[in-house]
């Protein structure tokens, strides 16, 4: 989900100070494994060979087994779209969670994906600019509110959120997709925020 990208944002200071849909880069605070150090066990952990180019994944490859399981969890939550919630709304849950937790890097990637899959770039930008209480229409607002309630500590997600999601047309599988997508970004946000920074 977070493959390295070329920074096109023209922030001279390096570190972005606002939420953006522009492509950002990310640099680790701890030393990743060198590509030359990667063994078969590490490649298994990386899952996709292309991820060996990425310093974030080569840092996480220091524990290959949890990296592999995390990557496969991520892929099924976001890419398994034959049934259930449209991809755009899974990305919306990821972007809203990232906005609420304060992960500028994760929010940039997943707001861009939400825009790409929904065509609602202006609404996505309002989520970034105005925050998670913005009104994005009944369906998107219900998904954002549910995601935020799940991200809170203690968790505030309750029956009212389930009912609100049902009222805008989500069935139980689609609600599970919201739960999984939002919950997963509590995992992703904390790794991206605590092991390095966007540049």
């Amino acid at each position: 989900m977070t493959d390295t990208t070329t920074a096109t944002d023209e922030l001279p200071s390096g570190r972005p100070v606002a939420f953006t849909q522009a492509e950002l880069d990310w640099t680790p605070w701890l030393e990743p494994l060198a590509e030359s150090e990667l063994t078969e066990r590490h490649w298994t952990g990386l899952v996709d060979r292309a991820r060996g180019k990425n310093p974030y994944f080569r840092l996480l490859a220091r524990d290959p087994e949890i990296l592999a399981a995390r990557t496969k969890t991520d892929k099924d939550i976001f890419y398994n779209t034959k049934t259930g919630l449209p991809r755009a709304e899974r990305e919306l849950a990821a972007a809203a969670t990232s906005r609420f937790n304060g992960c500028i890097y994760c929010a940039s990637v997943h707001s861009r994906f939400a825009t790409h899959f929904s065509g609602r770039g202006d609404d996505v930008q309002r989520l970034l600019d105005e925050g998670v209480s913005v009104d994005l229409g009944a369906r998107w607002s219900a998904i954002v509110a549910a995601s935020v309630a799940l991200a809170a500590t203690p968790v505030r997600f309750d029956a009212t959120h389930v009912t609100a999601l049902r009222d805008v047309g989500l069935d139980d599988l689609e609600i599970v997709d919201v739960i999984n997508g939002a919950a997963f970004f509590n995992w992703a946000n904390r790794l991206m925020l605590s092991l390095g920074e966007p540049v």
Partner: protein
């Protein structure tokens, strides 16, 4: 100690029920969430981050999530007790977990247009008597767990340096970070599914998947 599916166990999802069927529509998300738990708690190679420390960290992470996640906290506390941890250490971990309970997320953004959204809260600092009971290594970990759970946007390279100064290797820090972050995911899936289970649709009590 069998953990076929910890999320189902903690959320109260029984085999053959409608929500079990819904979960099975995301088979990898389900099995790999469990594989993540297994990778953390029955690792091929625990390295220098031992199992007692891993259960202690999990006990703290889940306890920090308060009453809605009390079931998860009880589960991990029980694993810590059964891990062979000294009773005095279990008591110290429990005390540390209680010392940190608050509400999040809060913290500061990089100085700029988002600074108006900065919010302040507890920066957990374990006091000296409790530090001695936990040991410096675990005390530093508990403070880092608090940072990650409640104010992840305050993270810094200095926070990682504090862990290294307390004896955490780079490999250890990667696994510790994955553990804390994974558990913040797991407690939320459990809370979400448990709520869904307790909130049947009025016209859809059979739980059929449209």
């Amino acid at each position: 100690m069998s953990h076929a599916d910890v999320i189902d166990h903690l959320a109260g999802i029984e085999p053959g029920t409608p929500l079990d069927a819904v979960r099975s529509a995301r088979p990898e998300a389900r099995s790999q969430a469990q594989a993540s738990f297994d990778a953390l708690f029955t690792p091929l190679d625990a390295g220098t981050f031992d199992l007692v420390e891993r259960w202690a960290v999990a006990t703290v992470v889940t306890a920090f999530h308060g009453e809605p996640s009390a079931g998860a906290a009880a589960f991990y506390h029980q694993q810590l007790v059964e891990s062979g941890a000294a009773p005095s250490l279990v008591d110290a971990v429990t005390a540390a977990a209680q010392a940190g309970v608050t509400e999040g997320p809060y913290g500061s953004f990089p100085a700029g247009p988002l600074s108006g959204e900065d919010t302040h809260g507890l920066h957990l600092a374990i006091d000296e008597p409790l530090r001695s009971r936990l040991g410096e290594r675990l005390a530093a970990a508990v403070e880092h767990v608090h940072l990650l759970v409640f104010r992840p946007r305050d993270s810094s390279s200095e926070a990682l340096t504090r862990l290294e100064d307390a004896g955490w290797s780079v490999d250890d820090i990667v696994t510790l970070s994955q553990e804390v972050a994974f558990l913040t995911f797991q407690v939320r899936v459990v809370a979400g599914l448990g709520t869904l289970l307790a909130t049947p649709a009025a016209a859809d009590l059979s739980g059929s998947i449209r």
